[in-house]
Structures are given as C-alpha cells and as structure tokens.
C-alpha cells in the first residue's frame, strides 16, 4: 500500500509536484521551528535555507561532511582539532543520475540523485527535488532545501534534505 502511494506521488505531473511543494513550503515557513527532520544529526533548517552539520580539521584544514569525532580522514588528528562547522548548501551540480530501479523501502523509483560540489568544500550526493532530469545539467547551480520525506500512511510528515536547481 505504501509503495502504491509513493509511486503515485512520483508519477504526478511536474505541475502538480511543484504545487505540492509550494503548499507544504508555505506551512513550513509559518512554523519553521516545528519541522521534524529525518536526520537532525546531519542538517539543520535556517529559515528558508538548510545547512549541513560538517566539520573542519584545524590541523590540516580538511573540511568534511558528515561530522564525526573518530579522527580526521586526511591527517588523523582528533580531539579538539576537529571543529564543528555548519556548511551552506549552495553549490554546483557535478553529476546526476535518474534511478529507475531500487530496492529501498522508503522511496519509489524513479527518482533523481545529484552530486554537488559545495561552495563550502566537500562534494556530497543526495536526492534531488526534481522528479526527472529534464531541467538538470552538469554545471547548474543548486541549493539544499527541506523537502517532505516519503512517509508511511498515517505517519507524521518529516522533512529531509534534498537539492534543487537554484532559482535563476
């Protein structure tokens, strides 16, 4: 049943999809502090934007996402050398792929995965807001946003970080 609903959502026309996002987006803006995030350990909403919870190694300068305290992947520094930084999600699309077949329970194919070179340094990969790749091209500017996460019937809506083509 869940799969059927999710398929219908992904199968909606682009016009319907955009409308849905705008409507939910309006609710978000009115009550931004109440947004429940799918992964609050990975990103945080800041008004209309979203930032990634990253880290910077003060020993070697390596900026990384996600945040961890095990040790710097580049130089091995640990402890106080590892500093929390919040990373803006503005960046450039370096690749994308439409996924037609996938076994994940929480999303129905097709969906689009984007690879983003963040202005802040790291390259990250995440789901795109766009339901298809028609408007996407390597080199376009993108930004992260909080997007309603696919949810089981009756479950409270959560928000997940996705990337979308930036308004030009």
């Amino acid at each position: 049943m869940q799969a059927t609903v999710a398929t219908a959502r992904c199968g909606a026309t682009s016009t319907e999809h955009v409308t849905a996002v705008r409507r939910i987006g309006g609710i978000v803006n009115e009550a931004s502090d109440k947004r429940e995030l799918s992964h609050p350990d990975l990103y945080v909403g800041r008004g209309d934007t979203v930032e990634l919870l990253g880290m910077r190694c003060s020993a070697c300068g390596h900026v990384a996402f996600p945040r961890q305290r095990y040790g710097c992947e580049k130089c091995g520094a640990t402890g106080a050398a590892l500093v929390d930084v919040d990373l803006a999600t503005d960046g450039t699309l370096s690749s994308f792929a439409t996924v037609y077949m996938h076994q994940a329970k929480n999303i129905a194919a097709p969906f689009v995965i984007g690879e983003v070179e963040l202005d802040a340094g790291p390259t990250v990969r995440a789901t795109m807001v766009e339901a298809n790749d028609a408007a996407l091209a390597v080199g376009v500017r993108v930004a992260g946003r909080l997007h309603p996460a696919p949810a089981a019937d009756g479950a409270a809506a959560k928000f997940e970080l996705r990337f979308a083509k930036a308004a030009s």
Binding site: H39, S94, F96, V99, Y100, M101, I107
Partner: protein, 383 residues
C-alpha cells in the same frame, strides 16, 4: 618497509579449477568449493596432501566456512583461513598465497574463493556515521554518477558504454564457467530495462554463487612433485592499496586503480601496453572504460574509440575481459578474483580454446572492493 614480490623467490600458478558461476540455488557451498579444488588438483596433477596452506576468499558465507568444507578432501591438519576483503576477497587470498610461497613459508598454497549471496549489510553502514544519501545510492547509481561525469568531460554516449557489454557478453558466451553465456547485440543492451543513469540491466554484473581455486607453488615443489613446467605461470607482481582522501569530486575508484596498477606494473618490470590480456573489475560497463584509462592502456577519453575499433577484443591489441568479465562470467564476490587468475593463467598457457588471445605472454588481474580497496596482479609465461 614493504617489499615487492620480485624481491623473493619465484612463485607459480600450477593448477586452476572452477565451479560454474550461477544464480543462487539450493546447492550447499561445499559442493561448489570441492568441485573447484578437485579440478585445480587434477589440473596440476598433484594430490591434496601436497597442499600446505589454504587462503579462502569469502565475504558472505559467515564465520568458519573453510575447514568444514575442505575436511571432505581428507584432513591433513594444514593451516586454513578465511580472507574477507569485499569484492577483492579472492584477489587478496591469492596475494597471501603467492607471498607465502615466494617468502618460503610454504612450497604449495591454495587460494580459494567460494561464496553464496547473502543479505547481510556492509559494516560500512554500521560505523555510526550516516550520510544524507538515505540508502538511495546503490553501487549502480554510484557508477551512473561517474558515467554522467565522463559523458560531460569526454562527449561519450550511452552506446560507448553499452559496447563493453556487447564485447563481454560475447566472450562469456564461449565460457562454460560463465553465469551468462549468451551473446547480446548493441540493440539488446540498449533496449534492456534501465537501471540507473545510462546503465541497463545487461550493463550490471550478476551476483550469484560459484567457486574458483588456484594452486601456487615454488620451483622446489614443481621439481619435487613433477609438475609440468610448460603449464606453470609465474606471478610477476602483486600490489594492494586502499583509498585515501583524493581531490574533491575525483573518481576515487579510478584513482585507486591508477596507483595500484602503476605499482604492480612497475614491480613486474613492464609497461602497460606490454600486456596481452587483462581481467578487470567490470561490475558495471562504465568501469571498464574508466580503468583502462587509469591503467594507461588508453589515454583519457580514448577508451571508447579503441573499444569501437576492436582494440580490446580477443585478437585485438589487448584482450580485455576475455572470460566475459564480471558482466558475463558473473561476480559471486569471493570467487571472482581467483577466477580472474584462472582465466589469465589459461590464456597465458594457450589453453583458452575459442577464447584464446593468440600469443598471450603477459596478463593482469584487477579487482576493486567497496571500502575501497584495490588488488592487482601481473602474471607472465616464461616459455
């Protein structure tokens, strides 16, 4: 200070054996493994008690899989161990067997690979560090993303990638050990169900079950056991590396392959274009393109045109994935790297039948494993 294999005494592949790679079945794994080991012993014309050590590459069988399988050859009490290194498990088992013989710890060592599919999650998903991908980037999507970058950089087309599948399925059609033994046209490959990005189903390897075995021996053992010297293939070099932090947005699989292959080729004292046969990690078509360029077989952006011109066919400049590769022979994980050594050995002996690349004297086997790890061997036939 690490030492290359060439610093030690010569080690030779003297016996090879396989159980066909196939879809997961009810067949118990010892049936697969024992068939491969018995075929390798028969190929070398030696008996089981001559084997002094076992390295068993397996990623999915679970704890303590080896002795309970190999006891049916008659227990001799020799050391046996499982080797887990993701898709490179079998390659790593072979490396350990080659070093053990080269350094004189043993005269005869068996490298074995046996696996059956399992749904056990990767340890990488349990490190306590999560990402924003949300489990939505399967390996085929990782390589679809790299493929799109390659398309942008070099103006490649989906046909350029699909031709890898046409070649490798064509080779696999003549390999009785291959999981997929059916030739496919360019139209077949392109019209197959799409999976991710430019990749269709026939451009993704099947992960099934199977077994491969390779016996490694010293010159002393070859003489003592009366093994046919003309069928011995020398292990010229062995290189193994792991991923480091590369420049952001680099193709880390290709970069890791570039470094590991360069080391293996240098240690063997050859140049990339000296190679006659290459078995590489073509789990997805696009990988063959990336790795041939990373290895220095083709210049950046040049591999699709060379492929189109037949340079990588059996009988071309260098036969690539003559076995059918992971795409057609299959990728049962543990056996795959050992099976590559078996194919390279068969080619260098001149025993590959209709798949024979004439005059093959130098061969290379390459695997990458998620994590990421890379293992490369160069083999040569001296007579």
């Amino acid at each position: 200070m690490s030492a290359p294999l060439s610093k030690f005494r010569p080690a030779y592949v003297v016996g090879i054996g396989l159980h066909r790679y196939q879809h997961m079945s009810e067949t118990p794994y010892p049936v697969l493994g024992l068939a491969a080991v018995r075929e390798a012993l028969a190929d070398a014309r030696i008996e089981w008690p001559a084997v002094e050590s076992v390295y068993h590459g397996t990623a999915l069988l679970g704890m303590a899989s080896t002795r309970v399988m190999l006891r049916h050859l008659g227990g001799t009490g020799i050391p046996m161990q499982q080797v887990e290194n993701a898709s490179a498990s079998g390659s790593t088992a072979f490396r350990l067997a080659a070093y053990e013989v080269a350094t004189g710890v043993a005269d005869v060592a068996l490298a074995l690979g046996v696996d059956k599919p399992s749904a056990r999650p990767l340890a990488g998903s349990q490190t306590g560090i999560r990402g924003i991908e949300g489990g939505r980037i399967a390996p085929f999507t990782h390589f679809a993303l790299l493929a799109q970058r390659y398309i942008e950089r070099h103006g490649a087309t989906p046909e350029d990638f699909a031709r890898v599948a046409v070649k490798n399925h064509g080779n696999g059609a003549h390999n009785k050990y291959a999981q997929r033994q059916q030739a496919r046209s360019l139209v077949d490959v392109l019209n197959d169900p799409p999976i991710s990005g430019p990749l269709t189903r026939l451009q993704c390897c099947p992960v099934g079950e199977g077994a491969a075995a390779v016996i490694v021996a010293s010159e002393d053992a070859i003489a003592r056991l009366g093994i046919d010297r003309k069928r011995c293939v020398r292990v010229l070099s062995s290189a193994q590396r792991t991923e480091v932090v590369y420049a952001e947005s680099s193709n880390f699989d290709a970069e890791l392959t570039r470094q590991t292959t360069a080391q293996a080729i240098a240690d063997a004292g050859i140049a990339p274009r000296d190679l006659d046969v290459i078995e590489l990690h073509d789990a997805f078509t696009v990988e063959e393109i990336f790795y041939l360029e990373a290895m220095g077989i083709a210049s950046p952006g040049e591999a699709p045109a060379m492929l189109r011109d037949g340079a990588f066919d059996i009988g071309g400049d260098v036969a690539v994935s003559a076995s059918g590769g992971l795409l057609a022979m299959g990728h049962p994980i543990g056996p795959t790297g050992v099976g590559q050594i078996a194919e390279v050995t068969r080619q260098l002996r001149g025993e590959a039948g209709v798949r024979q690349h004439d005059g093959a004297k130098l061969g290379l086997a390459h695997m990458v494993g998620v994590g990421a790890v890379c293992v490369v061997h160069v083999l040569g036939h001296e007579t």
